[in-house]
Amino acid sequence: MKPVLLVDFGSTYTKATAVEAESGKLMGTAQSYTTVEQDISLGLEKALAELKGQTGALEYEKRYACSSAAGGLRMIASGLVPSLTSEAAKRAALGAGAKVIRTYAYELTEDDTAEIAALAPDILLLCGGTDGGNSACALHNAEAIASIDRDFPVVVACNRACARKCAEILTAAGREAIVTENVMPQFNSLNIEPCQKVIREVFLRRIIQAKGLSRMHELISGILMPTPAAVLQALTVLSEDLGELCAVDLGGATTDIYSITEGLPTKAGTVLRGLPEPYAKRTVEGDIGMRYSANGVLEAVGLKRLCSNADITEEQMTAWLARIQEDKGILPREPWEQQADFALAATAIEVGLARHAGEIEPVYTPMGLAYQQTGKDLTRVKQILLTGGALIHTGKAAELAQKAMATTFYPSSLMPRQAQAVVDRHYILSAMGLLSQYDRTLAKTMMIKELL
């Protein structure tokens, strides 16, 4: 027997999963409530004790962990043009599993640097200019960042002609600077993997230590990555067998949307515009969630539309939102409360998917009708994975996804329309992402067995 322990340190829950690596059997899953104030090892000990109750005493061969505790990996991205290197920087950070707290474009002002100092990011990503292109902006921003009196590492992924110089400016000011390849080496070509690799290395080396997670060392052989990166990894591995897929992770405060597909046009006569999309893409909706961001859902669509997603009156919806404000841990009990929560969840998924997916618009040219697509076409994606406590525990996850995909409110959106819903019942996606680092085939087989 070769048991492997997989741990996910979350901001509110620590989840532990035990897997038998020879047979690919899921031995048990446990979770325990953790608070930021408490030592994070308490949460792990509780989860392990619960797990032991399920599996009996085990000698783990390997122990891996991912973490989104202590606010996750908080990053700031900066670039030159908003729709180009700024956007590329943001995508690189999101794909690396970071929480992007702010994105800047053009030259940083004094106000910006003051704001960066106040935000105190874990890592700052400095981009700008294609290779051999604009270097003035990145150099100016390096100077501006060097002047900030805060110690955070800077990943330099700008125009290669000035990257070294930027790093020198930063190191001269005592800042750690790591130079990597440009996120946009040529115009409109995205090159985010080298940058993401560096972000992960910095995360392992510096951030884990700073967040007091290094005390876990005796319990864990290594914290491998931020939790969202583990989920993205799991989905990528799964898509090798299942083909193109999407995933929704609906949380209390944010909603993460993933898509693993090229997303090329499916309609004839379509011109693709804008920055190329990463094959494995993650977006985060910071204003969309079931509890802390419930009002964000309301603001995104309005009360009338929110209610149209369930059998409920506007008064009831307002009452439910008010109760959520009072108690973020509230669970729906009465039928009308369940309806209200259903509407909230369906709308959150719908808004998240619509923002993640691309759009298509008709263009009338003198040569006739043509279509212009920006972003990914997900209309033909066959599977949509649903994860996150808010979805898993409703027992209606598949129904929610169908409702969200059937929306008529985004006629130009290329969001998934007919995907089959797959529910991550035992909450194993992040654990499987970790496991895939150890044994890719095993993780794949287990996911297919567990999910389908």
């Binding site: 030159l80 043009v81 729709s83 180009l84 290197t85 700008g128 200019g129 294609t130 051999g132 292109g133 604009n134 270097s135 946009m184 040529q186 115009f187 409109n188 011109v271 515009r273 263009v363 009338y364 040219t365 003198p366 040569m367 043509a370 212009q372």
Partner: protein, 141 residues
């Protein structure tokens, strides 16, 4: 010598892709570093590409007759975006119907274009003009 970089594209709702490919090939062969945006390019896209790639010239094509409407305000937007003095070239079937080229040239120069080329201009002519203008810029630098 630094690379001579330029942005190339067909402006507006124009989907004429063949001429764009020929120009891309000809300019690249002539030694320019071409950022080709292809067809259906908006003014904003030309400008954003020029900023990010630090290009010294924007070469706009138009073949469908609506060029005059599409090009209006490009120079002002370039100034606004900090691309003061960037070379602006335009060429093709840039106006509606057959009009005397001198008048057309005058109108486009008044719009802020440095060089205006009529229908059927061989790429060599544009390349010569670009080389001269780049030399002037490099002499100033």
């Amino acid at each position: 010598m630094a690379e001579r970089r330029m942005v190339l594209g067909v402006i507006g709702a124009d989907v004429h892709a063949v001429g764009n490919q020929i120009l891309n090939y000809a300019f690249t062969e002539a030694g320019f570093s071409v950022v080709n945006l292809g067809v259906m390019v908006s003014q904003e896209e030309f400008i954003e590409a020029a900023i990010e790639s630090d290009a010294k010239a924007i070469v706009v094509s138009s073949l469908y007759g609506h060029g005059e409407l599409d090009c209006r305000g490009l120079r002002e937007k370039c100034d606004e975006a900090g691309l003061k003095g960037i070379l602006l070239y335009v060429g093709g079937n840039i106006v509606v119907g057959k009009q005397p080229f001198e008048e057309v040239e005058k109108r486009f120069k008044a719009m802020g274009f440095d060089k205006v080329f009529g229908p059927g201009t061989p790429p060599e002519v544009t390349i010569e003009a670009l080389k001269k203008d780049f030399e002037l810029l490099e002499a100033q630098a």
